[in-house]
Amino acid sequence: MTASAPGLSSGAVQHPSRDAVERVFKQERGRILATLIRILGDIDLGEEALAAALEAAVVQWPEEGTPANPRAWLIRAARNKAVDQMRRRALFEDKRAEMEADAALERDEPEIDEVAVRDDQLRLIFTCCHPALAVEAQVALTLRTLCGLETEEIARAFLVPAPTMAQRLVRAKAKIKQARIPYRVPDAEDLPERLDAVLAVVYLVFNEGYAASSGAALIRRELCAEAIRLGRLLVELLPGESEARALLALMLLTDARRDARVDAAGEMVLLEDQDRARWDREEIREGLALVEAALRAGPPGAYALQAAIAGVHARAARAEETDWREIAALYAVLRTANPSGVVALNHAAAVAMAEGPAAGLRLMDALGADGSLAGYHLLPAARADLLRRLGRLAEAAAAYREALALVGNETDRRFLERRLAQVSPARA
């Protein structure tokens, strides 16, 4: 790039520091990359070109001033770098590369406006979350290309070695290219199914970040923030999709409880014991408004029902004021819409709160008998809790032990151990 770069601001020219350039870059990266991938038709080419554009910006902006439209400047610079590179390759290699370079030039539009950039991001989300890619690959690609997380950060978040994550990304990008997975928003006929896949990836990212786990606390927090950011983007891009709105609501209402769910010692605090003053009022306010909008839109989907349940909790100023009948009713609908063992277990727990532990226990015993939750520690843990409330302490202790044999997470393990000690006869 030279001084002929477009959009140099007139008048008072800002001469940013290198750090400032990098901050702008980090902010714009996801949006710019989406557009570059569309223009160049390839994720790797887009990433390389973007890195080259950053190098140019770091040199030029502090000298010449920040361009009036930094995003357009970066896209233009990156595109030119990519076309240069394709032309060089064409000189040495083959005719096809030259044709690709020409095609990329033709695909360039003079104006890159806000609407075009958003459409590019939407296209890229659907590519990253394409069902022909493995779910882990969908998650990794989304975080890398749309959220701009480094491969190492994604690896740390999912507790896999960095080379494994790098390999996962390389394979996924190669499949997109070689099998020609398109960069396209699916047509109306396919949209519901494809949107489900996108929402599932976003929710998976959120849950991965929300699951209490020792160690990489910071990156986990970032995962939640990125999932919420993606959720907002989807609501903005697909305003007619009430499940996208509902998912955003669900994430906000869950995230609102983040600070209250772990105590100073890092131990898990149950919903009923949480200090509700520490819930994020702003997230709750926004989440509740979104749930209402989603519920008004028609028959509620699975996310709307879950968000509605989170909303009932959020509305209760104290745990004792929770409307458990409403929650049990919502879970009953969710159970029909989305039959799963976990939902059935939550339904049973809500019924226990609304109608008493005995009623909940009957449902849980039925669940245990059908075997759909075999190996899942929360079933014996929830049973143990009801047995404890019914004063059947020996049976409760046995169920806590059963849960402890299955639990994987350390925080959950310590919680179960404390409860087991409570129901065990005190030792002299």
């Binding site: 290699e93 083959d94 394409h130 022909a132 070689q178 020609r180 398109p182 396209r184």
Partner: protein, 117 residues
């Protein structure tokens, strides 16, 4: 771009032809083939003799080893293929979903590799 649709199905079931199911499928295949010829997606396609007729050939230490049977013993066997032209994977998988055996077996969609130059 070309894709190979590999048709895997349970050949024992097909051979049994319970209540004429295989005859119905043959008719469905004729209709499907006609439709992709008409739409211009069809490049080639064949049904294969059962895996009992398969022979595998390998060269190890310079010696040719010839063995009876398919490459892998699986519940579903490769029974035929279509070579199609499609603009991207979405179009290819849509066509694959219309292959009659998709209802009982599995259709593997593989992009055909193009060598540069």
């Amino acid at each position: 771009m070309q894709y190979l649709l590999l048709i895997y199905d349970n050949e024992a079931e097909m051979a049994a032809n319970r209540s004429g199911a295989t005859d119905v499928m043959m008719k469905d295949y004729r209709e499907f083939t006609d439709s992709i010829v008409k739409s211009g997606n069809m490049k080639a396609g064949d049904a294969l003799q059962p895996t009992s007729t398969a022979t595998c050939v390998r060269i190890r230490n310079g010696k040719t080893l010839t063995t009876d049977g398919p490459f892998a013993e699986t519940k579903e066997q490769l029974g035929g293929y279509y070579l199609i032209e499609a603009k991207d994977l979405d179009e290819a998988t849509k066509i694959a979903a219309r292959v009659p055996s998709a209802k009982s077996g599995t259709i593997e969609v593989r992009p055909v590799r193009v060598f540069a130059g």
